[in-house]
C-alpha cells in the first residue's frame, strides 16, 4: 500500500472526526451542512476504493509523534 493510499484512509477518519466530533461550544458553527455533504461526496470514491485497493494493512499514525 502506498503512502498516498494510507493518507486517503486517514482522510476518511479525519473528515469523520473533524466534522462529526469535537466539543460544540457555540451554537453557530459556520460550516454549512451542504459543505459537509460536499466533502463526503468527494470522499465517496476514496471510501469505496479502500475495499479494492486495500490489502490487509495496519496503519501507523498519520501526523506528528506522540
Amino acid at each position: 500500500m502506498t503512502t498516498i493510499a494510507e493518507r486517503d484512509v486517514a482522510l476518511v477518519d479525519l473528515v469523520d472526526k473533524l466534522l462529526g466530533g469535537g466539543v460544540v461550544i457555540a451554537g453557530d458553527i459556520t460550516l454549512a451542512v451542504a459543505d459537509v455533504d460536499l466533502v463526503y461526496v468527494q470522499l465517496r470514491a476514496l471510501i469505496s476504493s479502500v475495499a479494492t485497493a486495500q490489502d490487509k494493512q495496519l496503519l501507523p499514525r498519520m501526523g506528528g509523534a506522540l
Binding site: 484512509v9 466539543v23 461550544i25 466533502v39 475495499a51 486495500q54 506528528g64 509523534a65
Partner: protein, 210 residues
C-alpha cells in the same frame, strides 16, 4: 472573526509556534484560537486544522473543538467558555492523558474464497454461499470489538458506511497505544478475510462531547 481549535488547561506549556496560535484564558481553562481564515473546505484545510490540534496535543491534554467553530472576538470566546466552564473542565478531565485511535474494518481485497462443495453451481447456491461468507466476515469484524475495547478507557461505535463492516473509536491512554497497535496486528493476522484500518493517535474528537 476567530476560529477555535481546542480547550486546554491554563496555565499550560507555551503554545507551539504554528499558525499564530493565541489563547483566551478562563478560570483554569484556555481556548486556543487563530484568526479565522477564508480557506475553502478541502482535505488540505482539514489537515492543516488537524496539524494544529496535534501540535497542541504533543505536550498537553486537549479537548478538541468542533471544526468550523467561529466567534466574533476574544470576549465572545470568554463568554461562550464561561457559560459551560464546569462542563468543559469535566470533559477535559475525561480525556486527560489519552488519545483516540480509530478502527474501521472492510473486507480484504482478496478475501479467501468460500469452500466450493463441487455441486454449488447454480446461481442460487452461489448467492447462498456468498451470503454465508459475508455474514461470517461481518461477525468476525464485530468480534474484534471486545479485545480492542479491553484496552480502551472508553469506546464509541459508529455506523459503518459500505463497504465497511465495523467502525469504532477508542480512547486509549497514551502509554497504551503501542499495546493497542500490537493487538490490532495480532487480530489482523488472525483474520485474513478482513482489512483492519487503524489510524491515530488522534485528538479525542469522538470523546469530547459525551
Amino acid at each position: 472573526m476567530i476560529e477555535l481549535y481546542a480547550i486546554t488547561d491554563d496555565p499550560g506549556p507555551p503554545l507551539p509556534d504554528v499558525a499564530g496560535l493565541r489563547l483566551v484564558p478562563f478560570d483554569g481553562l484556555a481556548a486556543v484560537y487563530t484568526p479565522a481564515s477564508d480557506a475553502e473546505l478541502s482535505p488540505e484545510t482539514l489537515w492543516r486544522h488537524e496539524e494544529v490540534v496535534e501540535a497542541l496535543m504533543a505536550d498537553r491534554d486537549v479537548l478538541p473543538v468542533r471544526y468550523g467553530t467561529r466567534l466574533e472576538d476574544e470576549a465572545a470566546v470568554a463568554h461562550a467558555v464561561g457559560e459551560r466552564r464546569d462542563e468543559l473542565a469535566a470533559a477535559l478531565d475525561r480525556v486527560r492523558g489519552a488519545v483516540e485511535l480509530s478502527v474501521r474494518v472492510v473486507p480484504a481485497r482478496e478475501a479467501p474464497r468460500p469452500p466450493d462443495h463441487g455441486e454449488t453451481r447454480s446461481g442460487a447456491d452461489y448467492l447462498r454461499v456468498r451470503a454465508l461468507a459475508e455474514a461470517g466476515r461481518s461477525e468476525a469484524a464485530h468480534a474484534l470489538q471486545e479485545p480492542l475495547a479491553a484496552l480502551a478507557r472508553a469506546t464509541t461505535e459508529g455506523r459503518p458506511r459500505p463497504p465497511e463492516l465495523f467502525r469504532a473509536a477508542y480512547l486509549v491512554e497514551r502509554g497504551a497505544v503501542d499495546s493497542f497497535v500490537a493487538v490490532v496486528a495480532r487480530l489482523q493476522g488472525a483474520n485474513p478475510a478482513l482489512a483492519i484500518l487503524c489510524t491515530g493517535p488522534w485528538p479525542p474528537y469522538s470523546f469530547a462531547d459525551r
